[in-house]
Subunit: 161 residues, 2 copies
């Protein structure tokens, strides 16, 4: 069966979003696996770089991850020396999370990987079209009440950890 | 931790595509489950409605599904009276797949569900913007060599069956 070439064969725009989105997620997973990171770990590192020093509970809630799964992920990253738990300044019983110098170096590598992924994925679009696509996606995401930087897969899929 | 509101907090456009795509896929899964269909079954029904009468092997290859998983899916839909296997006209050993009248009725319900899903998902965008989004997604999908109508999840994820 040859690939039908007409526009209609791509299905609805909602289907296209799901299809291209799943393709993008899988391509990203393959790329960050070379840094021995899962997509959820990459998401947490990015969040720690942007908003450091919050409690474990705050990050887990924000990313929509079950606490037990989140703690396992933090344990693994702490064992690698990528992040550290520090006694809370406000609440001494709560651990605040921070990137270590190793973690900041890894973040720079991760940033380069993410930029390659983005430019390969969107190579067919001109810069103005890439901006247009982004703006439309942000509006859809906002209207649907999605949380910036929190992939729905963090919540449910063990293999994205 | 409150949701950061700046545009940058949404991450890369590639991430946004993965995030909105996963959200769209999950919303679709929830909707078609009310018709007792999985997303992959819905994808096959749509394909049978558009291009009927090909061999099981042709559909499985096109959708990128392992043959054993595909046969189980066809068995389940045949048991429900939604599709039927007919002896091949060209190759009498190959079974051709066709929707039954029940299957055509189910397809009409599925079409209505897909249209509601689409209009709810894209409610924030004007019709011209929806067309613009679609055009950009088709170009990205074509450039990446994706197969029209075949979600990558059909290939790998048991829970999408």
């Amino acid at each position: 069966m040859t690939k039908p070439a007409d526009d209609h064969s791509w299905g609805s725009t909602a289907f296209l979003l799901a299809q291209v989105g799943a393709y993008a997620a899988e391509a990203f997973r393959a790329r960050v696996s070379r840094l021995e990171l899962t997509p959820a770990q990459a998401g947490l590192l990015r969040m720690l770089a942007r908003i450091p020093g919050r409690s474990q509970r705050a990050y887990a809630t924000y990313l929509g991850m079950p606490p037990s799964r989140f703690v396992m992920m933090v344990d693994a990253l702490e064992d690698r020396g990528v992040l550290e738990r520090r006694r809370g300044t406000d609440d001494r019983r709560a651990n605040e999370l921070h990137l270590t110098p190793t973690g900041h170096r890894l973040m720079r590598e991760l940033g380069a990987v993410a930029r390659s992924h983005e430019s390969d994925l969107l190579a067919a679009l001109k810069p103005s079209e890439q901006r247009g696509l982004r703006e439309l996606l942000v509006r859809v995401a906002e209207a649907q009440g999605l949380t910036p930087g929190a992939h729905p897969g963090y919540r449910t899929k063990p293999h994205t950890e």
